[in-house]
Structure formats: structure tokens, C-alpha cells
Assembly symmetry: C2
Homo-oligomer: 337 residues x 2
Amino acid sequence: MPVLRKPYLLFLADVTLPSDAKTGFGLRDWCGADVIGECRLPEGTVSLGLPELRPAEAAAAGAGSLVIGVAVVGGQVPRSWLPVLIEALDHGMDVVSGMHTRLSSFPELVDAAARGGGRLVDVRVTDRVIPTGTGLKRPGRRLLTVGTDCALGKKYTALAITRALQATGTKATFRATGQTGIMIAGDGIAVDAVVADFVAGAAELLSPANDPDHWDVIEGQGALFHPAYAGVTMGLVHGSQPDAIVLCHDPSRQTIEDFPHMPLPPLRVAIDRYLEAARLTNPAVTCVGIAINSSYLSDDEWRRYQVALVEELALPVCDPMRTGVDAITRHLLAHFA
Amino acid sequence: MPVLRKPYLLFLADVTLPSDAKTGFGLRDWCGADVIGECRLPEGTVSLGLPELRPAEAAAAGAGSLVIGVAVVGGQVPRSWLPVLIEALDHGMDVVSGMHTRLSSFPELVDAAARGGGRLVDVRVTDRVIPTGTGLKRPGRRLLTVGTDCALGKKYTALAITRALQATGTKATFRATGQTGIMIAGDGIAVDAVVADFVAGAAELLSPANDPDHWDVIEGQGALFHPAYAGVTMGLVHGSQPDAIVLCHDPSRQTIEDFPHMPLPPLRVAIDRYLEAARLTNPAVTCVGIAINSSYLSDDEWRRYQVALVEELALPVCDPMRTGVDAITRHLLAHFA
């Protein structure tokens, strides 16, 4: 995948549920300065509150890419979206997609890209040659967000920690491992789409050697306790060689999402298992905090939960949405001072 | 990958080192009844001691496939091999390859396959739709060979255990996860070539529901302690849901092969880590023995090593090449009686 061309026009297609436009909301919230507008089909009803621009208008205003900002069940690109994508390509923009359908499977889009000079970018596909992992230490510091399950805030937490570190004047870069993260960062590798033998190598490539005081903050994927995806998580842990991990958890979940027969481990066990895995390539790894997705808790419930967890684990416990993550970054910077 | 068509003619190409014909030796040793001959180029000097047959002669004798029985550095198919492959295809045989070069990348082979009606089979490529893992238990029993490292006898041990079980009248099937194993079994999935998200699902597909007293004996891949491949191993462990594991080890290795900075764990630690990983999808998993590749030990050294290890681990310790694996299968059958 090439580096993405910003700024973006976000395409919200024909979706009518805000949850189907999660990608668009993520981009608006985390790289808003790179987004100059939104556009949709007549059937679409979801808005991000951004200026409405046709692709031609966005191109005139300097947009580099039209980004498909929706994620619908099945991941297919319907033909009804093509006219808008073609208009963007005809005005020289790239089209960026995280859908399963390859953009290049539509001859009309290939032709329009050739006419306009723009690119068809599928963020789940990487063209880089990915080596196998080496396990060799490289300079620079790395933090990896890990979780008790999928989809409970690992990307959000990594983005929040990156910002919080930068706000203290610390050199920090968010490293994206999934499609929305890649669109936000403009670069990255969708590690779950890599051939299995190369996941650790992809993670090494994603966070290359850097200044000794620079932090790569790497978006985690999957969970070591997930019966389908733990292998991806393991490869990402080994290749990232984290100096620090932050464990993400949603206390409303008792079992892996959609796997009611798979209970989540206690948080202390989860931390120990991640540290044990990470020690293979970085024996000095440590856990610097817990990021809780507490959206199902009242303020009172959250406060009680947080106090109890701090006592149990003797680590900073944040909800990035409620409290920010300063307690975690303070602990991190003190530990690595 | 389709089920392979036996019997085989083994193509030894132009290799001059027996180690480059490891695949051919493995096929001769483990499915000799399915191999009717060997053929090579004039430059080749390695023989498996089988009848020498031209592809036309092998086809007349009923051969279903010409199998490329060599593994050379880089994994490329040179053009000098094409005439022999084309002769096989022109006589209606399939050509089977575990090389990195796709057979279908040669138009001459595609044409010859069309003429003869045979198939070009790359065993590292699977055409099956692979689902993600479910973690759901399925009937039948499963044994997985695991290792402290790659390439120290996991395939050999799984094949030996399968034979030993069958010799006792126990229903048992070898399940292949790598290219040579797939050629021996005639079927299987090269799990390291699967997209990372689907490794556990591939392992579930590979050992489907079976009779409650049937054993799938699954060829392990990689190692949990390998900085490049542990993710593949983890997915294979979770999807295989082993009831029993056998740990394979080569006592001449102190570190992961080609990774001198990565020490091997003590065997007790290795067993515990594999059991811990496997418990996610099968809490009742147990270790039933140790398979040692003792080729670097004298008979005296082996006896002392074996006695010490039995004492330390309280498990049967075999070298499949020296002692066979009956001690392991006896222990297995007693445990699961």
C-alpha cells in the first residue's frame, strides 16, 4: 500500500445507520485537519457535520483522495457507488477503500484512474515485500496496545496515547495495523491480511529503527484469548518488540464477542500472558496501564470500578473517552526516564 | 489444493546433494507404495534407488502425478526443468510442486496441461474457502506434534505415531500442514501460506469432526519460541484443539536455528507454554511424550540423555528413528482408554 494522499473527501455512500459510518467518524475525530468534506448518495442519511462537497468541488479545493468512509456487512462495493468514485478519479483524486471488493476489479474504475492519473488504493492490500521476522532489537522505544478481546478500543487508546505523548513534547508516532488506523495515519500495514508466515516481519517493518527517545505507539489487533485471531496477535507482539504494553478491556464483556463459549481471562492473567509472549523478543517489557471502555457504566459505577482496579493491579487505569490517558503516559515517561 | 493423484513419479531435477532431495526421500520413506519411480536431468546425480522411468513410461505404468521432489534455495523452478514437466503433462499426468514459483506462471505448462487434461498443482496454494476459527469442540480425538524449534522432526514424529496407532488397530489419520507432508498424505493445507486471520480456521478445516475414537495426528509447524513463526504455531494449536501434544526437540540446538540470539527454553517450560496455549480451545489437553531427534548423539549418549529426561519429565521419551514411538502411543492409549 502506498502512502495515502491527503486531504480527504469522505464518501458516506447510502448508509442510514451512524454505526455503518464508523470509519468516517474515526477519520473526522482523529485526523479532522486532513478532512475537507463529506459526500453521499441521495439515499444516504448519515452526516459527520462536515461541509458537503461533490468530488469535483473537493478536487478543486485540493483534496488528494476520496476515502470510502463506511463499513457495511459483507464488505462489498455496490455498482451504485461507481459514478461518485469515477467523478473523483476523473478529477485526479485517488480512491481509497478498506472494503473486501478490490477496487481494481471494476474495469470502469481502472479506466477512470488511468484517465485522471489517480490511484486505486485498497488499504487491506500491501504491495511491499515483507520479510520474515528477525527478532533482532532495533533502536527506538515501542508501546503496543493489547486487549482482552477484539474491538474494544485498542486503536482509540493508541491514538490517544500518541497525542498525549506529543503534548508533553515527546517524539511519538502512531503506527496503524488496521484499515481505519491506516486511513487516519495515511500509512501502515493491515497485519491480519498478511500471509501468516510474515506477520512478525510486517510488524518489524511497521516500526523501524528510530531515535532512542522516540516512541512508536502501535495499534494492537485481535487478542491472545481469541480462538480465531490469537496467531495474528502473537506475531504482532513478537515483531513489535514492545517496551511497554497497555491492556484494553471492556468490563461489560464476559466472553469473547460472538463466541459465548469463550470466557475472558481475569485482567491479571491477561497482563501476565501478554508479558510472557512479549518477553521472547524484549525481556524488559512492562505493562504501564489499563485502558477501559466504560461506556456501559454510569459515572458512579466507573469510579468504583476504577478504584477497585487500581488497587488490584497497582497500575494507572484510564478510560480514554472519560479521563484521557495522561495517567498512563505520566507513568510511562517516569518508568522510562 | 485438490486431492493429489497417486501413484507418483518423483522428479529429482539436476540436484547433486542428497539434502536438496529431502522431499523425494520423505516420499519414498513414508508413502513408498505410492511411488513408482524416479527421473532426473542429465546433470542430476542423486538417486532414491527407485526404478528410473521417463514420464511417458511412468504414465504408461499408471502414474497419476509427476512430483517435484527437490527443494532448492530460493524455491524457483528453472526453465531447464520444463521439458520433463511438459512430457508428463502431455501424457495426461498432473504436475505437483511445492516450489515458490507458481507452475501456472509458465504459459508452456498451462498449454500442456490443457492438451493432456492434467492439472498444475501448487501444494502451497489452497483454493478452498477457509473460514475463521470458531473454537467450537468437534467430535474425534486429536494429537498435535509441537516443537522447541522448526525443522527437528514434527512431521516425521506425526507420521510415525500415525503408523504406530494404526498398527494397534486404532483408527488414525495423518493430517499434513506443510508441503512434503501434503505430498505424502495426498491432501492437506500449507498453514503458513494462509492469510493470518484464517490460520486457526484452516486448522479446524484440516481435522474435521470424526468418530469419537478416531485420532487425527496433526503435523506441527514452527514453534511458540520462534520470533518469526510463533503466530502460525499459535493459530495451528488453537484450531487443532489437541487432546494430546508430543513435544519434539533436538538436543544439539541451544538456540533457534539461524537465530543465534534466541535461546531455546527448557523442555518443561516448553511443555507448559504449549499446554497453556492449547487450553484456550481444549482445557483437557495433556502432553503424552517427547520425541527427540538424537542424530548427533552416540548410542551411549542417547541412553544417558533418555534416562535423565524420563526422570526429569516423567513422560515417555523416544527417538522415532532409534526407538520407534511405541512408548508414546502406549502412554497415549492408556491415558485415553
